[in-house]
C-alpha cells in the first residue's frame, strides 16, 4: 500500500494545476492517471482558447475562475515556459436580431470583471481583421482573450509539479475507492476525517484527501463513494486544423454570436501559427467516442466560412474531436456550472467535475481554488524550497541562429532533424523523453515537441521517433505505442506468418497463369 496526503485522480489540466498548487505545501501527493500520459482526455482536444470571461453567467464559479484564470495565464506562461499569446477575441453578430444577445454578453463581461470590452462597428472590425465576413452588423471585442498551447500548459504544470515532489502514476486506472471511517487525522486542527483507499488493479493508494479531477469520468469516480449521484455527458466537438499557410488569415479569435442557427463555430490562429476551426457540439453516449464525422467536418467548414469567407477546406492538415465534460443538472433551470467542492458527507473527498469550457482558461484558478479548499480542511506548512519555474524543451524551430549554435554545442543531437515539417530535432525528442513525466509514446513526443504535427502528419518522422523511443526506453520497437497499450505501431516482424495469413486468402492462380495450389 502506498500512502499519501493527497491523491489526485486525473492528470488533465485541472488535475495537474491542482497538483502544482498543492505542491507548494508540505504534502505527499500522488496523481493517478488512467491513460498512458498526462493530457490525454479533454485537455488534449479543445480550442486552446484563453477566454476573456464574458460568456459565463455572473456569480457562477465559471465566471469567477475564468476571469481569474485569464489574469493568471500570462505570468504562468512565463514562469512555466509554455506558449501563450493575448491575441484578443471578437464575437461576430450577423443580424440585428442578435444585438440584444451581443449586448447581454457585453453586460455579463462587465459584471464578471472583464477589462477593456468594446462593441465595434463592422468597419472597425474590418480594419482589424480584413478577412472577416462583410455580413456582420456588430462585434464584441475583448482584447484580453488569448490562445494557449493546451498540451504545453498541461505538460508544464505536470513537470513543475513533479519537480516539486508530486508523484505521477500513469496507466493507473482507478477501479474502486473504499472509504474508512471514522479516522481522526493527526494534523491540526484536529478534525474528523476519513481515510480513502483508492484501488488501481490490485494496488492500493491511501490518503485522507482525494481529488476527483477525472474529466468525463468524474461522475464514475464520484459515484464510487457518494450517495448523491452525478452524471456527466460527453459533449463532442469536432475540429479542423489548417496548414500554417493560412495561419495568419485572422489574428484574433473569431467567435460567432450564438443564434437560432446554433452555438457557432470559432476560427482562431493557434500559438504555433496554424488555423483552427471548430467545434461542433453533440451530446453522445460513449465516453471514448472521439470519432470525427463527415457531417461534423463539413459543418465546421460551412459555419466557419460565415465568419471568414476565405476558409479553404483543402488546407486541412488534420481533424480531430474532443469531449467536453458536461455535467447534467437534474433541474434544468439550474445554471450550468463547474462542480468544485467537498462532497456532502465525505470529508476530504473533493469533486472537480463538469470542467467544460472555460475549463482550460480556468485551470490555474481551479488549482488555487482547490488548494484553498484543501488548506481549510487539511492545512499544510509551506515549502520553503518550492521551485516556481520550469524550463520547457528548447525549440530549434523558434531559436535564433545564436541559440541554435549554443544548443548544438551543448548536444549535437540538436542538429539532427527528425521532423522536417516542424523542424524538430533529436535533441528535442531526447529532452521530451528524459525529463520528468517524460514522453513514452509517439503521441507523447508529438505533444511535447510537435514532431509529427506538421503537414506530412508524421509520415516521415514517425519511424525515426519510434526508433529513438525504443533506443532510449530500452524497449523493442514492437512495444512502442501511439498512445498506450493496444496502440502498438508495429504488429510483428516480416514473415512471422505465412503469406496472406488470415484464412480466406487463397492463391487460385500462380503468377504466370499456372494452376494454383490451394492451402
Amino acid at each position: 500500500m502506498k500512502d499519501y496526503d493527497v491523491i489526485i485522480i486525473g492528470a488533465g489540466v485541472s488535475g495537474c494545476a491542482i497538483a502544482r498548487e498543492l505542491a507548494k505545501g508540505k504534502l505527499r501527493i500522488a496523481v493517478l492517471e488512467a491513460k498512458s500520459d498526462v493530457c490525454e482526455g479533454t485537455s488534449k482536444a479543445n480550442s486552446g482558447i484563453v477566454h476573456a470571461g464574458y460568456d459565463a453567467v455572473p456569480g457562477t464559479l465559471k465566471a469567477k475562475l475564468n476571469v481569474r484564470g485569464n489574469e493568471m495565464m500570462e505570468e504562468l506562461s512565463k514562469k512555466l515556459d509554455f506558449p501563450f499569446r493575448r491575441n484578443g477575441s471578437l464575437v461576430l453578430c450577423f443580424e440585428e436580431d442578435g444585438m440584444p444577445g451581443l449586448e447581454e454578453l457585453y453586460r455579463r463581461g462587465i459584471e464578471n470583471g472583464v477589462k477593456e470590452l468594446k462593441l465595434l462597428s463592422p468597419e472597425e472590425v474590418w480594419a482589424m481583421e480584413p478577412a472577416i465576413s462583410r455580413n456582420i452588423v456588430r462585434a464584441l471585442y475583448a482584447p484580453t482573450g488569448g490562445i494557449v498551447c493546451p498540451f504545453g500548459l498541461n505538460i508544464a504544470l505536470a513537470e513543475n509539479a513533479a519537480e516539486n515532489g508530486v508523484e505521477f502514476y500513469r496507466d493507473h486506472k482507478v477501479t474502486a475507492i473504499v472509504e474508512q471511517r471514522p479516522v481522526w487525522t493527526e494534523k491540526p486542527p484536529a478534525k474528523e476525517g476519513r481515510m480513502y483507499q483508492v484501488q488501481v488493479d490490485g494496488e492500493i493508494f491511501e490518503a485522507p484527501i482525494v481529488i476527483n479531477a477525472a474529466g468525463v469520468y468524474a461522475d464514475e469516480i464520484h459515484n464510487m463513494i457518494c450517495e448523491e449521484k452525478i452524471r456527466i455527458v460527453p459533449r463532442r466537438g469536432e475540429y479542423r486544423l489548417m496548414d500554417k499557410n493560412c495561419g495568419d488569415l485572422v489574428n484574433s479569435t473569431i467567435f460567432q454570436q450564438p443564434s437560432k442557427m446554433g452555438k457557432g463555430i470559432l476560427v482562431t490562429p493557434t500559438v504555433h501559427g496554424n488555423l483552427l476551426v471548430g467545434p461542433t457540439a453533440e451530446d453522445i453516449p460513449d465516453k471514448q467516442d472521439v470519432d470525427t464525422t463527415a457531417e461534423g467536418l463539413a459543418k465546421v467548414l460551412n459555419l466557419g466560412s460565415n465568419s471568414v469567407d476565405a476558409l479553404d477546406g483543402r488546407q486541412t492538415i488534420t481533424s480531430f474531436a474532443g469531449l467536453r465534460a458536461h455535467l447534467v443538472h437534474e433541474d434544468p433551470a439550474e445554471k450550468s456550472d463547474f462542480l468544485i467542492e467537498e462532497a456532502a458527507g465525505h470529508p476530504g473527498f473533493i469533486d472537480v467535475a463538469g470542467i467544460e469550457s472555460p475549463g482550460l482558461t480556468s485551470a490555474p484558478a481551479i488549482g488555487e481554488y482547490v488548494a484553498q479548499i484543501v488548506e481549510n480542511i487539511y492545512p499544510a506548512e509551506r515549502k520553503a524550497d518550492f521551485v516556481d519555474t520550469r524550463k520547457g524543451i528548447p525549440s530549434m524551430a523558434l531559436a535564433t541562429e545564436e541559440e541554435r549554435e549554443a544548443l548544438i554545442r551543448e548536444n549535437p543531437a540538436f542538429a539532427n532533424v527528425i521532423c522536417r515539417c516542424e523542424l524538430v530535432t533529436e535533441g528535442e525528442i531526447l529532452s521530451a523523453i528524459h525529463r520528468l513525466v517524460g514522453a513514452t509514446t509517439l503521441d507523447g513526443v508529438k505533444r511535447r515537441t510537435r514532431a509529427g504535427m506538421g503537414r506530412c502528419q508524421a509520415g516521415f518522422c514517425s519511424p525515426k521517433t519510434l526508433e529513438i523511443l525504443s533506443r532510449e526506453l530500452h524497449l523493442d520497437p514492437a512495444q512502442i505505442t501511439k498512445e498506450g497499450t493496444g496502440s502498438e505501431i508495429l504488429t510483428g516482424k516480416n514473415k512471422d506468418t505465412a503469406p496472406g495469413e488470415g484464412g480466406t486468402w487463397k492463391r487460385t492462380q500462380e503468377p504466370g497463369g499456372k494452376e494454383a495450389l490451394h492451402e
Binding site: V290, D291, T292, T293, A294, G313, R314, T316, I317, T318, S319, F320, E401, E405, I408, P412, A413, A415, N416, V417, R420, C421, L423, R455, C456, Q457, A458, G459, F460, S462, P463, P477, A478, K482, E483, G484, T485, G486, S487, I489, L490, T491, G492, K493, N494, K495, D496, A498, P499, G500, E501, G502, T504, W505, K506, R507, T508, Q509, E510, P511
Partner: protein, 332 residues
C-alpha cells in the same frame, strides 16, 4: 557556424540529386556538393525493393536499391562530395545573385554554404489522412503506404496484419503485394476514381496475381477502432467522388494504408520566393528547368511527380547541365 563555398549545391541525394550531380561534374563543374537529409544516398529508391527500375536508363530491369547503387557508385567514382544526415533549413538569395544555403548536421553543426547555383531535388511526400479528411477515430494502424514500406523493407517490421489500402497509386499496389508476401492479409484496394492511377503491370502483378480485389469508385467513409484500427467503412462514390448513401459496407482490418497521391516537397522553394505552379505543386520552370529565381534549378519529383525513376534521372541530368551552363555564362 562552418562556412564553405560551392558552385552547385544539390539539395537531396536521391535519384534526381545524384543524376544532376553526375552530369554537372561531367560538364566540367568541380565544386558540386550534395546535401542529403537521410543517413544514406539513394532517397526513396532504397525502400523500393521491387523490380521494374532502369528499363530506359540501363536497358535492364533493376530493383530500386540496385538502381540507386549504380548512381551512388558513379558518384563515388567521380568523387562527388556529399553530406548525409544534413537538413537544409533555408535558401536565400543574396543581393549579388549568389545563394546562401543554411543547413545543419551533427558533425558540422550549423552550416552556411555560399553558392552560385542551387539544384532542388527534394522529392515529394505522401498525402496524409488529415489532408484526405477521412472521418472516424484516430487509432494506431493508419499509415501512408510509403511509411509502411519503410517499416517492412528497411526495418523488417510489419505495421499490420490485416490490411485495407486506400488509393491505387503505384506505391499502394506495390505495398499490397509486399504485405501479402511478408505475411499479412490484404482485404482490398479501394480507389476513389473510376480507374486506377497505377501502372497496368502493377495492377496485374500486385493485385490480380494475388487475388486482391480492386474496388473502383470507392473510398473510406469512416475509420473504426479506439487504440488500433478495427475496421473501415467503405462506400461507393458518384462521379464527383461524393459518397452514395446506402452503398456502405464494413471491412474488418487492423491497418489502413493510404496511397492517395504525392505532393512535391517545396517548403524551401516557397521560402526562397520562387513562383509556384498550382497544377504540379512544383515551381514554375522554363525549358532549362530554371525557376523564377535565376540560378535555381529543379528536377525530379520536387518539380512534378514522375511515373518512372528513369524519367527523373533524364530530367535531372539536364538540370545539372543547365546549372553548369548558367555558371559559364555568368562568368563569361
Amino acid at each position: 557556424m562552418s562556412k564553405r563555398t560551392e558552385d552547385i549545391v544539390i539539395i537531396g541525394g536521391g535519384p534526381a540529386g545524384l543524376a544532376a550531380a553526375l552530369s554537372a561534374r561531367k560538364a566540367g563543374c568541380e565544386k558540386v556538393l550534395i546535401l542529403e537529409r537521410d543517413r544514406e544516398l539513394g532517397g526513396i529508391l532504397n525502400q523500393c525493393i521491387h523490380n521494374g527500375f532502369g528499363l530506359h536508363t540501363f536497358k535492364e530491369e533493376l530493383t530500386g536499391p540496385e538502381y540507386a547503387e549504380r548512381y551512388i557508385d558513379m558518384a563515388e567514382e567521380a568523387k562527388i562530395p556529399y553530406m548525409l544526415n544534413t537538413m537544409v533549413t533555408n535558401i536565400s538569395l543574396r543581393s549579388d545573385g549568389r545563394k546562401k544555403v543554411t543547413a545543419m548536421n551533427k558533425e558540422d553543426g550549423l552550416l552556411e554554404i555560399e553558392t552560385e547555383t542551387v539544384i532542388l531535388a527534394m522529392g515529394c511526400r505522401e498525402r496524409s489522412r488529415g489532408a484526405l479528411n477521412i472521418p472516424g477515430s484516430r487509432p494506431a494502424g493508419i499509415y501512408s503506404a510509403g511509411t509502411a514500406q519503410y517499416y517492412v523493407n528497411i526495418r523488417g517490421r510489419m505495421p499490420g496484419k490485416n490490411v485495407v489500402i486506400l488509393g491505387s497509386g503505384d506505391i499502394g499496389l506495390i505495398m499490397a503485394r509486399r504485405m501479402v508476401l511478408e505475411g499479412a492479409k490484404v482485404q482490398c484496394v479501394a480507389e476513389l476514381r473510376p480507374q486506377s492511377g497505377g501502372l497496368k503491370r502493377n495492377i496485374v502483378q500486385c493485385l490480380d496475381d494475388f487475388n486482391i480485389p480492386l474496388y473502383l469508385n470507392t473510398t473510406v467513409a469512416q475509420i473504426h477502432g479506439r487504440d488500433r484500427v478495427e475496421g473501415v467503412t467503405l462506400t461507393k462514390v458518384d462521379d464527383n467522388g461524393k459518397p452514395i448513401p446506402g452503398s456502405e459496407w464494413e471491412v474488418p482490418c487492423d491497418t489502413l494504408l493510404l496511397s492517395c497521391g504525392l505532393i512535391p516537397e517545396n517548403e524551401l522553394t516557397r521560402g526562397l520566393g520562387a513562383d509556384m505552379d498550382g497544377k504540379t505543386g512544383g515551381p514554375v520552370v522554363g525549358e532549362n528547368l530554371e525557376c523564377s529565381i535565376p540560378g535555381v534549378f529543379a528536377c525530379g519529383n520536387v518539380l512534378h511527380v514522375h511515373e518512372l525513376v528513369d524519367h527523373v534521372s533524364a530530367e535531372a541530368e539536364k538540370a545539372g547541365n543547365y546549372a553548369v551552363e548558367y555558371i559559364r555564362q555568368k562568368r563569361g
